[in-house]
Amino acid sequence: MKGRLLRTGTLAGGLFVLFGLLAVTLAWNYPAGDLRRMGPGWVPVALGAALAVLGGGIGLAGLFAREGAALPERDPRPLFWLLLGVAAFAFLLERAGLIAAILACVGFARLGERPYRPVETAVLAAFLAALGAGIFVYGLGLPIPLFGR
C-alpha cells in the first residue's frame, strides 16, 4: 500500500485536491452574486471544485491502477541551499545593499554543490557582485543601493 501511496499520480492528485479545497474554502465567503452581476466568489469556487474533483480522480487512478510511476529519487539539500540564497538576497538587498546581497546569495547557493570549493566560491561571488553592480547600478542606473541606504 505504501508503494501505491508514493506514486506520482497519487501524490499529484492529493496535492491538487488540497489546492482545490483551499481555494473553495477561502473563496466560500466571497459574494457569489447572480447571473447578471456575477460576484467575485463564483469563478474561484467553481475552479477550486473542478480542481479538487479532477485531483481526486487523478489520485484514485494513481492509487488503484495496476502499475504507476513511483516517486523518483529526491535529495532536497541543493534546493534548501538555493532557497536560502534567494532568501538572503531578498532580506539583505534593501538593508545591506546589492553587494552584500549577491555575496550572500552566491555563498549559500554554492553550498548546494559538492564538494564545496571555498576559494572558487569567493572569487565567483566577488565577480558576480562586481558584474551586477557594474551592469545594473553603474550601467543602467537602477535605483538599487550598493551598500545599504
Binding site: T8, A12, L15, A27, P44, L79, L82, F89, A90, L124
Partner: protein, 499 residues
C-alpha cells in the same frame, strides 16, 4: 501605388540615416545583451533602458526603443533555449522544444532557427503594419467581452495540447494556474481574493516571480541533485540547422507568422496567445506530433515566428489609436510623452516622419537582430561549456535582480522562492509547468470578460453564441478539445480491450 509606397520611402529615408541606423543597432544590441540575462524579460529590459533614450531626438529614441524591444525578445528566447527559462510569457512555448533541442546538442540550430523565423516573421509583419493598419484596427474592434471570453476559452484548450505527458495532469495544472491568476483585486468588484492581508498581493502574483520559481529555481535544484557535473549536457553537434530541420521549420514559420500577425493586434491576450496557438497548430498538423516537446524544429520556428510577428502588429493599436495593448507598448507611449509627442490617432498625419520612420525601422531592427545574433550563436552555445557549478549561481543572481527590478520589490523575490519549492515538487510529481503558466495568464482575462459580458448583456448567456466571432471561437475550442481528448480516450479503450 505611389500613395502606398511613398510613405514607406519616407520611412526608410528616416530609418536609414546613419544616426538612426546606429541607434537601431545600439538598441538591438543592448536589448539582446540585457534580455539574455536570465530573469530579465522585455518589459524589465525596456523599463531599465528607457532613461538611456531620454537624451536622444524623439525619432532616434523611439527607433532605439523598438530595437531594444526586439533585442530583448530575442534575448529572452535565447535564455529559454539555452537554460529553459522563459523571461516572458510568450517564450514559455519556446522553452518546450527549444530547450529540448539544446539538450540534444542542437542548441546552435535552435538559436539559428529562432533567429531566421523571427526575421521572416518580422519582415512580413512590418509590411502588414505598413499596409493594413486601419483594417487590422477595425478587426480588433470587433472584439468585445464575449469574443475575448471565447478566445480565452480556446486558448485554455490549447494549453492542454502543450503537455506531452498525462492529459489529466495538464488539465489540473491549467486549473491550478487559473486559480493562481485570480489572486489579487477583482477588477469587477474590488474584492481582494486569496491575498491573506498582504498589500503586495493585491495586484496579483507577477508572471516573472512565478516563472522564475517554477522554471529557474526548480530547474537548478533538480540539476544539482543529479550531481550535474561539467559537460554533462549532450555534446554540441554543429552550430547550424540541417537541411531537414530547415525544411521542417520553414512552413511552420510561415504559419506562425500568419497566426501571430492576426492575434498580435488584439489587446491584452493577443500577443501572448499567438505563440501558444502557433505551437498547437503545428502539433496538430504534424505527421509526428509525438516529437513535439522532444526537440522538433517546427516547435521552435512556429512560436518564435508568431511571437515576433505579434510583437510587430501589437504596435498597430499604439500607432493608429495611441492605445497601448500591453505593458511594453504602455512603456513606449510613456517614452513618447517624455519626448513631448502625444500618442494618438493624429501621430500619423502630424508626425509622418516619425510614424513611417518607426515602421521602417522595425524592419531594419529585425535585420540588425539577425546580423547581431547569427555570429553570436557560437558565443551563446559556448556558454553551455561553462561548468554548471559556475553557471548556476550567476543564473540565480540575475534572476533575483530581474525579479526585484521589475517593481523594486523584495516581496516578489520571496514569492519566487515559494514558487521554487512548488516547482520542485511538480518536477518530482511529473507535472509540467507550461499549462499552469498559460492558465495563469488567461484565467483572469477570461473571468473578467465573462463577467463583463454578462453585465453588459444584463445576465443573458446567449451573447456568447449570438455573436458570430464568439460562436466560431467556441466551436473551434470544442473541436480542438475533442481532437485532444480522442487519442487518450482511444488509448484507454484499446488498453481495456487488450486486458
Amino acid at each position: 501605388m505611389s500613395e502606398l509606397f511613398d510613405p514607406l520611402l519616407l520611412g526608410f529615408g528616416v530609418a536609414l540615416t546613419p544616426v538612426n541606423v546606429f541607434w537601431c543597432l545600439a538598441g538591438a544590441l543592448l536589448g539582446t545583451l540585457i534580455g539574455v540575462l536570465p530573469g530579465i524579460g522585455p518589459v524589465a529590459t525596456i523599463a531599465m533602458l528607457l532613461p538611456v533614450t531620454f537624451s536622444l531626438e524623439p525619432v532616434g529614441a523611439l527607433i532605439m526603443l523598438a530595437g531594444i524591444y526586439y533585442g530583448a525578445q530575442y534575448g529572452g528566447s535565447t535564455t529559454a533555449i539555452l537554460v529553459n527559462m522563459p523571461g516572458e510569457s510568450s517564450s514559455v512555448v519556446t522553452c518546450l522544444d527549444g530547450h529540448a533541442m539544446a539538450r540534444n546538442g542542437r542548441a546552435g540550430a535552435a538559436l539559428a532557427i529562432a533567429a531566421l523565423a523571427s526575421f521572416f516573421a518580422g519582415t512580413v509583419a512590418t509590411l502588414v503594419v505598413a499596409l493594413a493598419s486601419p483594417a487590422m484596427v477595425r478587426f480588433a474592434q470587433l472584439f468585445q467581452a464575449p469574443e475575448y471570453f471565447s478566445l480565452m476559452a480556446f486558448g485554455l484548450v490549447a494549453a492542454i495540447v502543450l503537455a506531452h505527458g498525462s492529459v489529466a495532469k495538464a488539465v489540473a495544472m491549467t486549473l491550478l494556474g487559473l486559480v493562481l491568476g485570480l489572486v489579487g483585486t477583482d477588477v469587477n468588484s474590488g474584492q481582494l481574493r486569496f491575498t491573506f492581508g498582504i498589500p503586495e498581493l493585491s495586484d496579483g502574483i507577477g508572471f516573472v516571480p512565478l516563472a522564475m520559481g517554477l522554471f529557474a529555481i526548480a530547474e537548478i535544484a533538480v540539476q544539482l541533485e543529479r550531481h550535474f557535473v561539467r559537460g554533462q549536457s549532450a555534446a554540441i553537434e554543429g552550430l547550424w540547422p540541417t537541411r531537414a530541420e530547415l525544411r521542417e521549420a520553414a512552413p511552420a514559420a510561415a504559419r506562425g507568422t500568419l497566426v501571430g500577425s492576426i492575434l498580435g493586434v488584439l489587446p491584452g491576450g493577443g500577443a501572448l496567445l499567438s505563440s501558444f496557438a502557433a505551437y498547437t497548430l503545428e502539433k496538430k498538423l504534424s505527421a509526428h506530433p509525438e516529437r513535439f516537446g522532444k526537440g522538433a524544429a517546427a516547435g521552435v520556428a512556429a512560436p518564435e515566428a508568431a511571437n515576433n510577428a505579434g510583437a510587430q502588429t501589437s504596435f498597430i493599436p499604439m500607432l493608429t489609436l495611441g492605445i497601448p495593448p500591453n505593458a511594453v507598448m504602455a512603456l513606449m507611449i510613456g517614452a513618447m510623452s517624455i519626448h513631448g509627442i502625444v500618442p494618438g490617432p493624429q501621430v500619423m498625419t502630424r508626425e509622418p516622419a516619425l510614424f513611417w520612420g518607426l515602421i521602417a525601422s522595425m524592419w531594419v531592427g529585425n535585420l540588425m537582430l539577425v546580423i547581431i545574433n547569427l555570429p553570436l550563436i557560437g558565443l551563446w552555445v559556448s556558454l553551455l561549456r561553462v561548468p554548471y557549478r559556475l553557471l548556476y549561481p550567476a543564473i540565480l543572481v540575475f534572476c533575483c535582480i530581474g525579479v526585484y527590478g521589475l517593481n523594486n520589490s523584495t516581496f516578489e523575490v520571496a514569492l519566487a522562492l515559494a514558487f521554487g519549492v512548488l516547482g520542485y515538487v511538480f518536477v518530482k510529481l511529473g507535472c509540467e509547468p507550461a499549462p499552469l503558466l498559460l492558465g495563469f495568464i488567461l484565467g483572469p482575462m477570461m473571468e473578467e470578460n465573462l463577467r463583463r459580458a454578462m453585465r453588459i448583456s444584463r445576465g443573458d448567456p446567449l451573447v456568447f453564441v449570438e455573436r458570430p466571432i464568439s460562436l466560431a471561437l467556441l466551436v473551434l475550442a470544442v473541436l480542438l478539445l475533442v481532437a485532444v481528448l480522442a487519442p487518450s480516450v482511444r488509448r484507454a479503450r484499446e488498453k481495456a480491450f487488450v486486458e
